[in-house]
């Protein structure tokens, strides 16, 4: 069903992001550059208790979000924490407990729009619950990843938009036309990544535009421009995919077999994403869905069921008049 809306723009290449999280240093320059260039409103200041992540998640007012994950395991062949780090445990389990208590039933689902607050109480004595080296110290690796709208090939937000506000641009990206959006909110639960969101005071939905305005002027998006390590790489999607495949091989070769690409496969549930990632753990660890599927893939089947069900409703009423006539 979605295929009808997905003609790739002709004449221009599909552009995208390759976010190589293995070289992200968590500086958040991308978050800042995005906010500045796109004049995205502030979404509150708070301490979330999730490592260095005080942003929360993507939302109407957060179009780049740097995730921080602390793990009790080594990074590649490095003997990092054992010899260099001043102290032992990374406290992963206790941190998780504190954060869980602060998030409550809503699981922080509104973070990024209305940044929630976490009030860490007194922490129980953190004990090394992970792998302990022969020297008695825990291992540590710190994963950082800059998340962004995926600009899916089969974009659910675009498919379900009832006004035609969401469009595919000549660069193959997905953009909201803010003068059309009437804030129906259908795209919000349709997005399999939880990216797009409605801005409360404004009433319309907002998300990353892949800096459409900069691209039309031949400039790279603000976040890629600001990234000091080239963790965020911008370019034609086919070139980025080639480069990413080489990078994965390179990392496998130096003892990091856990390196894998996320969103680079054109045969996945969303037809591959325009913004894809190199990850060092499973996607859900970074807050990504492990196997996202565009909801409209099943829509033809749903319409058939709805038509059958409608016929069933009519038939039931007919039967009710036949049987009910006697009472």
């Amino acid at each position: 069903m979605s295929d009808g809306l997905l003609e790739q723009p002709t004449g221009r290449q599909r552009m995208g992001f390759f976010t190589d999280t293995s070289i992200c240093i968590g500086c958040k320059a991308c978050e800042v550059a995005c906010k500045e260039w796109n004049q995205v409103p502030d979404d509150g200041l708070s301490l979330l208790g999730m490592s260095y992540d005080n942003t929360g998640m993507l939302g109407a007012d957060t179009w780049r979000h740097v995730a921080f994950i602390e793990q009790d395991r080594p990074l590649g062949r490095q003997n990092n924490s054992v010899t260099v780090m001043p102290t032992g445990p990374s406290g992963t389990a206790s941190t998780a407990a504190v954060v869980a208590a602060g998030l409550g039933d809503k699981h922080g689902s509104m973070l990024g729009t209305q940044t929630g607050r976490v009030h860490p109480g007194p922490q129980p004595h953190a004990t090394p619950d992970g792998h302990v080296s022969p020297g008695g110290r825990t291992e540590l690796r710190w994963l950082m990843a800059s998340d962004v709208c995926k600009h899916c090939t089969h974009a659910a937000c675009l498919d379900v938009c009832p006004t035609g506000s969401l469009i595919r641009t000549e660069f193959g990206t997905v953009v909201v036309q803010e003068d059309i959006c009437n804030g129906c909110g259908y795209c919000v639960p349709a997005c399999p990544y939880g990216v797009i969101d409605r801005r409360e005071r404004d009433g319309r939905v907002w998300k990353c535009t892949l800096c459409y305005d900069r691209m039309t002027d031949g400039q790279e998006p603000a976040c890629a421009k600001a990234c000091p390590t080239d963790s965020i790489q911008f370019g034609p999607l086919d070139e980025l995919r080639e480069r990413a495949a080489r990078r994965v091989e390179q990392l496998h070769g130096v003892g990091m077999p856990e390196a894998r690409l996320y969103g680079a496969d054109p045969d996945d549930g969303v037809g591959g994403t325009g913004a894809f990632f190199l990850l060092l753990d499973e996607p859900e660890v970074y807050g990504f869905p492990p196997d996202p599927v565009v909801t409209t893939r099943d829509l033809p089947r749903m319409w058939r069921h709805a038509a059958l069900a409608a016929a069933g409703v009519a038939a039931t009423v007919l039967a009710a008049f036949v049987t009910g006539a006697r009472r």
Partner: protein, 375 residues
């Protein structure tokens, strides 16, 4: 690491920083593993939701799911009443249908972030957007059922001899207009009762999407329960038979489909039984059973009191079920468990994500099951 040297005559062996070989230095054997994360059923980013739950307000949208169903079901009963000469059922059906349509439209527009831009819905007709299809369905249905209800009111005023009403000679024309628009509305009505199932199933919300096979049927059945109940409660006792039958059939099918969803979806259906949505669904089942029994009693004993009590119970059952499914969907979207666990199982089965990293890397697998000891 980078290999370039800075010399007096410039850079030598320049390598971009993006080629930095993190983790390459050190004495560890490659792929040694040694990962251990606390055992957990599934992994997530600090237990945070993956999806954004709907921004829709329950009163407006769950309310509309109910009202749209009632509007469609009542229009069908009105048409049937019209064709079989049940005047009070026709009148009740048309008025209930028009009222529900008006209220439902108001709720839909009120829920928009920019209500003044409601008309932007009419820019396009997109089959990929059930909301767009529904807007056009309502756009066709609303005026028809409105005209039928207006004809009903004018007819009643004329019959009562209200001054300023139409002369009696115009009565036939008004009746013909009411009948034709009422019948035309009944052609759109079945779709109006079931498309709302597609509306919410066509999202990434795990409960709603996974139930996409059953939701159109469940919502159609729930519409019959709600409309049958309300029409039975407001129709003359000796004419209400078909409304009672439709209501009872609707509520029985609705509860059977709800059980089927529970069975087929497994853990994804959990939110339907827990917390607030769980209470709503239990109340809906109780009200549905009570309403069915009361209306069946009235079918045997012809009692207006039983019709009113049973009819309102069925309507309450339908309303509670819509709110129950709405809130359960919200809960299934906010808890990462319902997003991650089924997708992880699917990915592991397909090997699409997991295949890219070797199994000696316990990090992935060991965490979800029992903690894996380092090699």
């Amino acid at each position: 690491m980078t290999r370039h040297e800075v010399r007096r005559d410039g850079l030598r062996d320049e390598t971009p920083e993006r080629e930095a070989l993190i983790g390459a230095k050190g004495g560890r054997r490659p792929g040694r593993g040694g990962e251990m994360v606390p055992p957990a059923e599934f992994r997530s980013y600090y237990g945070r939701s993956v999806l954004k739950p709907p921004v829709w307000s329950a009163r407006d949208i769950a309310g509309y799911l109910f009202l749209g169903g009632v509007a469609g079901g009542a229009a069908l009963l009105a048409a049937g009443g019209d064709l079989t000469g049940r005047g009070s059922m026709r009148r009740a059906g048309r008025l209930i249908s028009a009222g529900a349509t008006g209220l439902g439209l108001a709720a839909l527009i009120h829920d928009l972030g920019r209500p003044a831009r409601f008309a932007h819905m009419l820019r396009v007709l997109k089959p990929t957007s059930p909301m767009s299809v529904g807007t056009w369905l309502l756009g066709g249905f609303g005026p028809l059922v409105g005209a039928a209800a207006a004809a009903e009111l004018v007819g009643a005023a004329t019959a009562a001899g209200v001054s300023g009403a139409l002369p009696p000679s115009a009565g036939a024309a008004v009746r013909a207009l009411g009948r034709s628009s009422g019948l035309a509305a009944s052609l759109v009505a079945p779709a109006l009762t079931t498309y709302t199932g597609v509306l919410i199933a066509n999202t990434a919300v795990p409960l709603w999407h996974d139930a996409h096979r059953e939701l159109p049927y469940l919502f159609g059945a729930s519409a019959l329960a709600g409309a049958g109940g309300l029409v039975a409660a407001s129709t003359a006792v000796d004419e209400a038979g078909p409304a009672r039958a439709a209501g009872i059939a609707g509520v029985l099918m609705e509860q059977a489909l709800d059980r089927r969803i529970h069975k087929r979806l497994g853990m994804v259906a959990e939110p339907l039984d827990q917390g607030y949505p769980g209470r709503l669904m239990r109340a809906s089942r109780l009200a549905g059973r009570a309403g069915a029994v009361l209306l069946a009693g009235s079918a045997l004993r012809r009692s207006k009191a039983l019709d009113v009590a049973g009819g309102l119970a069925l309507a309450a059952s339908s309303l509670l079920a819509r709110f129950g499914y709405f809130h359960a969907g919200n809960a299934s979207a906010t808890d990462p468990r319902y997003t991650v666990v089924p997708q992880r199982e699917r990915a592991d089965r397909a090997g699409s994500v997991g295949a890219q990293h070797p199994a000696d890397l316990g990090g992935g697998r060991g965490v979800r099951g029992e903690g894996q000891e380092p090699a």
